[in-house]
């Protein structure tokens, strides 16, 4: 097969040559080289069909009889893919619209079935699947503590640093504490936690459920009379709704510690004064204004991840695509919801 490119070049010249009488003499024929032999066979057949007299001198490659045999069998046709016609374009556009509508419809069905499962699952402790919820809380919460803590600390250090630099010309460095405290507690803590969790857990939910779907595990559950929404989706959603506020508290705490550390280092502000200033800076509602958003973000991330996971069908390519969609959409939804919260809090003066 290694000689194929060289042979193909020679054959290409042969193909465009004016039709005439041609004698082929084969010097050597390698036993396994069926690919090049096929190219030669095809070229000679093409020349014959154009009226050239082709004779093969010496030994005919033994594959040629095999090729004649193959070609005698009907294998159908392989239509070359031409540029799409107007009709095909219209059909593609229609399919795109249909799949978008179907995706909305599936989300609606999914929401309905989830609410239905949740409504019935409350009735018994067993159907709440506490062990499953605890396991998911451990995986999505406890194991995420280090990364969430480090990210929150770094971001608050960065904002404290920039704040101190900008406020110093006005002699207002002390307000760096306000900046860090309000920024972290109201927005940064919960938002960064939600984004980290969306990347970490939203993708994991989609991938886990997607693989279960591909392995027919979801069908297996259903065939045993179990409700996959109750067994698979609900524990994940409940776990994340419970876990995200807790992670937010961790992020708030480490964020404030980071801020305190940087102000003490940069502004020579002792920790006791940081705490005193902190007390003055924040309203009683500041902490809660951040925290109440956490369960909503958790719900959005969990719903997006599990929905996209359950939409996987047929192939592993779908799995990759829908996992990406789950992460991108959940981050988008989190930020969108945060914006709505900001407007809402402004209106009610929270």
């Amino acid at each position: 097969m290694v000689d194929a490119p060289a042979l193909e070049q020679a054959l290409a010249e042969l193909r465009v040559a004016p039709a005439a009488a041609l004698t082929v003499r084969l010097a050597r024929a390698n036993l396994h080289d069926i690919g090049p032999a096929w190219l030669l066979h095809e070229t000679l057949a093409g020349l014959r069909s154009r009226g050239a007299g082709v004779t093969i001198e010496g030994p005919v490659p033994e594959h040629f009889t095999y090729f004649d045999e193959l070609l005698a069998r009907d294998a159908g046709t392989w239509a070359p893919a031409g540029p799409p016609t107007a009709q095909e374009r219209l059909a593609a556009a229609g399919r795109a619209v249909e799949s978008r509508l179907r995706s909305w419809y599936e989300a609606l069905v999914y929401g309905g079935r989830l609410v239905e499962s949740a409504a019935t699952a409350w009735r018994s402790v067993k159907r709440l699947r506490i062990p499953s919820i605890v396991r998911h809380m451990h995986e999505t919460g406890v194991q995420a503590i280090p990364v969430v803590a480090v990210i929150a600390m770094l971001i608050s250090v960065i904002s404290a640093y920039i704040g101190a630099q900008q406020l110093r010309p006005f002699g207002a460095e002390i307000f760096t504490v306000d900046l860090v405290a309000i920024g972290v507690l109201r927005e940064l803590g919960v938002l960064l936690t939600a984004i980290m969790v969306a990347g970490r857990t939203g993708s994991a939910y989609a991938a886990e459920l997607g693989v279960m779907k591909l392995n027919d595990e979801v069908d297996a559950l259903e065939s045993m009379g179990m409700n996959p929404y109750e067994v698979l989706v609900l524990p994940r959603v409940v776990a994340l709704v419970l876990v995200l506020p807790l992670l937010t508290i961790v992020a708030d705490a480490t964020g404030l510690i980071g801020g305190a550390f940087l102000t003490s280092y940069l502004l020579d502000l002792p920790w006791s004064q940081f705490v005193a200033r902190l007390d003055a800076a924040i309203a009683p509602t500041t902490f809660w204004a951040g925290l109440v958003k956490a369960p909503v973000f958790g719900l959005l991330i969990a719903l997006t991840g599990t929905l996209r996971g359950l939409q996987v069908r047929e192939s592993s390519r779908e799995l990759g695509r829908l996992t990406t969609v789950a992460v991108v959409q959940s981050i988008f939804l989190v930020i969108f919801a945060d914006a709505l919260f900001a407007i809402f809090f402004l209106e009610i003066d929270f």
């Binding site: 097969m1 194929a4 036993l31 396994h32 069926i34 190219l39 294998a75 592993s316």
Partner: protein
């Protein structure tokens, strides 16, 4: 080439404490169809992976066409791997590529040709494995189990291999499709003079296609012609060839000891 095409000598494979192969040796002659059978967990797939150079044995050597693949560097091994074709149990077609693209992939990787030439070569492979040409533009998810096996074989044949390794080629196929696949394997061996090594559980396939059989039992291997293996007295082999499922197709020859 004179002499055996594949030589496996004293191969030992172990996973931690567990020894899978403890000194496995056999040879495969050019042009034969060599079957590997064994119970679940007897290490058939591990043995196949060792022969493919995908796994280095803990000791022992594997020689393909006179070259020891267990003592090779990565680069050289990659060159050798192009010389044989492999099909995996579940086809292992790339799901994001069409059948035609799956078959083109090894070709395009190995040599630079025009699209039209790739197309012609893909057409040959599809014809060879008996796939309708309409299947070329389809994705693996759109194919039936039998067609996936054939497409995988087409991809394995793309580079004109001299040795073909088939892992459970007929598993999951209905008897008619399995029989057709057996015919195809025999036909390819006869017309292309390929050497074929296959791992199989399918007694029908074993009976119909294999010239010699290696049975993996007790971490060792017993190699013989089919008739010889059938007459072997090892309890597992007796069970395998004379169990309830096998009795219908193998009538045991008269016991040589006249018992």
């Amino acid at each position: 080439m004179a002499g055996p095409l594949i030589v496996v000598r004293d191969v030992v494979n172990r996973f931690g404490e567990q020894v899978v192969h403890d000194g496995v040796s056999f040879e495969v002659q050019p042009g034969e169809i060599f079957g590997i059978v064994g119970g679940s967990g007897s290490g058939k797939s591990v043995l196949l992976k060792t022969m493919l150079g995908l796994r280095r044995p803990d000791s022992g050597t594997v020689v393909l066409e006179g070259r020891d693949i267990t003592a090779m560097g990565e680069q050289e091994l990659r060159e050798v791997k192009r010389r044989y074709g492999v099909t995996f149990q579940h086809g292992a077609l790339f799901t994001s590529l069409t059948v035609a693209e799956n078959v083109t992939l090894p070709l395009a990787e190995a040599m630079d040709l025009d699209e039209a030439v790739y197309r012609r070569l893909v057409e040959l492979r599809l014809r060879m494995v008996g796939l309708p040409l309409e299947a070329a533009a389809k994705y693996p998810a759109q194919l039936s189990g039998g067609m996936i096996k054939r497409a995988a074989l087409a991809r394995a044949l793309a580079l004109d291999p001299s040795i073909l390794f088939l892992d459970e080629p007929t598993a999951g196929l209905d008897p008619i499709a399995a029989a057709a696949f057996d015919e195809l394997v025999l036909y390819l061996r006869d017309t292309l003079r390929l050497t074929i090594v296959m791992v199989t559980h399918d007694l029908d396939t074993l009976m119909r296609t294999c010239d010699r059989v290696a049975v993996l039992v007790d971490r060792k291997v017993i190699v013989d012609t089919l008739e010889g293996v059938v007459r072997n007295d090892h309890p597992w082999i007796r069970h395998y060839f004379h169990g309830a499922r096998a009795r219908s197709m193998v009538s045991r020859p008269e016991d040589p000891r006249g018992a």
